[in-house]
């Protein structure tokens, strides 16, 4: 596992070199700019909207990193032929895949943690001068620890997207991998429609196909608790655990699939 760790650290360092963390500056500017403007535009809903914006931006920026860095993780190494000297060293292909995946997860974690700190900071300053009476009318407190639940599931969501991108990256070109990953992400958002396909299309066959797709494809909508958290609707620990366990199982399946595909590739 030392080899996987070395690969992961190398991926993280490469992310820093590639200036991926510049997106944090954009995030900060977006939040601060919005917090200044929102007060005049939203009829007292600025805290709610900053929460929505912060969570959405954390998810969108993370999604872009997951997809566009994830699709290049393996394919770039193959195209640049840098895997050849690497595989001359004592490293298994599965360790290479897992190391790449873990490295990107580390990058995403640093990204998400910094964005979370920025979001709480902006919320703190935004709510500082607001009287307790007005705050009582809000659905949830401004500095709400429950936001961490939504952010936690965003991270889990990103981990799953990254695993999908890595899987496609092992056998497809970056362009196709991006299209497949994003396509699967969109389908995974509309999973509820697949479950009800028999009601939409009609016929038992459609129902069976729809149900099969519903269970087989990753259900990305499951990770979205942003709306509930922002409105102070409780999200149980059980839901968090089930969803995380589901993602862990799915990620494991995707990474195993990626390792199998990558181990069968011929690099001669």
């Amino acid at each position: 596992m030392n080899a996987a760790r070395s690969v992961a650290i190398a991926v993280f360092k490469e992310s820093v070199r590639d200036r991926i963390f510049y997106n944090l500056v954009l995030f900060a500017v977006l939040l601060v700019g919005a917090s200044i403007l929102m007060g005049q535009l939203t009829a007292g809903q600025d805290v709610k909207i900053i929460k929505d914006l912060g969570l959405t931006a954390t998810s969108v920026f993370g999604l872009f990193i997951s997809i566009f860095v994830g699709i290049n993780l393996v394919s770039k190494e193959v195209e640049r032929r840098s895997v050849y000297p690497l595989f001359a060293k004592p490293i298994r292909r599965s360790e290479f895949i897992i190391g790449k995946y873990a490295g990107l997860l580390l990058t995403l974690m640093v990204n998400v943690v910094v964005m979370t700190v920025a979001l709480y900071t902006v919320l703190f300053f935004l709510s500082r001068g607001v009287s307790p009476n007005v705050q009582r009318a809000w659905d949830a407190p401004p500095i709400d620890p429950a936001l961490l639940k939504a952010i936690g599931l965003i991270y889990v969501d990103l981990a799953l997207v990254t695993a999908v991108a890595v899987l496609f990256s092992t056998y497809s070109s970056p362009m196709l991998s991006a299209v497949f990953t994003f396509g699967l992400y969109v389908v995974g958002q509309c999973n509820e429609d697949l479950r009800r396909l028999d009601q939409i299309v009609g016929g038992p066959a459609a129902g069976i196909v729809g149900k099969a797709c519903y269970y087989l494809l990753p259900d990305f909508a499951r990770f979205d608790i942003k709306l509930a958290v922002v409105h102070g609707i409780p999200v149980s620990a059980g839901y968090m655990l089930w969803t995380t366990a589901y993602a862990a199982a799915y990620v494991a399946a995707l990474l195993l699939g990626a390792c199998v595909i990558f181990s069968r590739r011929d690099f001669k």
Binding site: L41, T42, A43, G44, Q45, K48, I49, D52, L53, L55, T56, S59, V60, N133, V134, R136, A137, D139, Y185, V186, Q189, C190, D193, F220, A221, F223, D224, K226, L227, V230, H231, I233
Partner: protein, 297 residues
């Protein structure tokens, strides 16, 4: 060319493009067309799918658009034909994307029913929006109170208003003043004292926009009291000068009023040709309940 030179040249070219753009706008100004606003997608279900899992943020965008549309129309210059046609679709989209967006329902309750020109005068849509909110959160007493408010103020159906205030009062966590309000509405619905009780409570609300709306209603009620007193003076003058058109100047000359009376916004009251006293169209208090946008009752 050096890097600095290229940078300077690029800056000069960009500056030239901006200057040309501005000069062209000045030379060929766009005609000032009063275009109606566009709403490309009106289906909440479609937008919900397009928004992926960013529906809460999309709801915020539609909420801001609803506010801008309403504010833009309400504060438009007098020559602009006010059209609040997008207010309900925008609020409907907002609440489809985020069914727990309380302020969107409650804002709709206050302003969808507002008579023209202050609003679209669609109490029915206000009610539809609030019932949608109740379907999402059946225990939200605020929506029941707001339905009661729409029945009370816009539809003058005091029995239904009292029923909704009563229903709201029965929800756990509802304020204690709702139960007596239901009783007062049933007993004295339409009386100004009952209206004052309702808006007095709403004026204590924690939401600034709801407070402002309630304070406006209280000012309208005050204006109605003043109008009653002025109407008595006008009637007195008419009795003494039958058939003569009545103006404030004549009433001042007859010492029936000390000066031209103004409402709480500082706008003079008007005397219609029929001798009826009311608030002027220019006043923020216009229209009073029962007053039509063309200034006739």
């Amino acid at each position: 060319m050096t890097r600095a030179g290229a940078g300077a040249a690029a800056t000069v070219c960009l500056g030239a493009a901006v200057a040309l753009h501005a000069a062209q706008d000045a030379r060929y100004p766009s005609p000032a067309i009063d275009r109606p606003e566009l709403l490309y997608v009106r289906s909440g279900d479609t937008i919900k799918r397009l928004a992926l899992d960013y529906d809460a943020f999309a709801a915020d965008v539609y909420w801001i658009r609803a506010l801008q549309h309403f504010g833009g129309e309400r504060t438009a210059p007098p020559d602009h034909v006010r059209d609040y046609a997008l207010l309900y679709p925008l609020l409907d989209l907002t609440t489809t994307l985020d069914p727990y967006f309380s302020i969107a329902y409650r804002f709709g309750a206050i302003y969808l029913g507002e008579p023209y020109p202050g609003g679209p005068g669609r109490a029915d849509l206000a009610m539809t929006l609030l019932r949608k909110g109740l379907a999402a959160q059946p225990q939200k007493w605020q929506y029941m109170q707001d339905i009661g408010f729409v029945y009370y103020w816009h539809l003058q159906d005091y029995k239904s208003a009292a029923t909704w205030f009563q229903r709201a009062s029965e929800i756990q966590g509802a304020p204690s003043w709702l139960r007596p309000l239901a009783a007062v509405t049933l007993a004295e619905g339409g009386h100004r004292s009952a209206s004052r009780a309702l808006f007095g409570q709403l004026a204590e609300s924690e939401e600034p926009w709801l407070r402002d709306a309630a304070r406006l209603r209280l000012r309208q009620l005050d204006a109605m009291d003043v109008i009653d007193a002025l109407q008595a003076r006008v009637a007195l003058y008419q009795r003494e000068h039958p058939g003569e058109p009545v103006t404030w100047q004549k009433l001042v000359a007859a010492r029936l009023v000390p000066s031209v009376p103004v409402d709480s916004a500082g706008v003079p009251f008007i005397i219609e040709a029929t001798g009826r006293v009311t608030v002027a169209r220019e006043s923020p208090l216009f229209p009073l309940p029962g007053q039509k946008p063309d200034n006739s009752s």
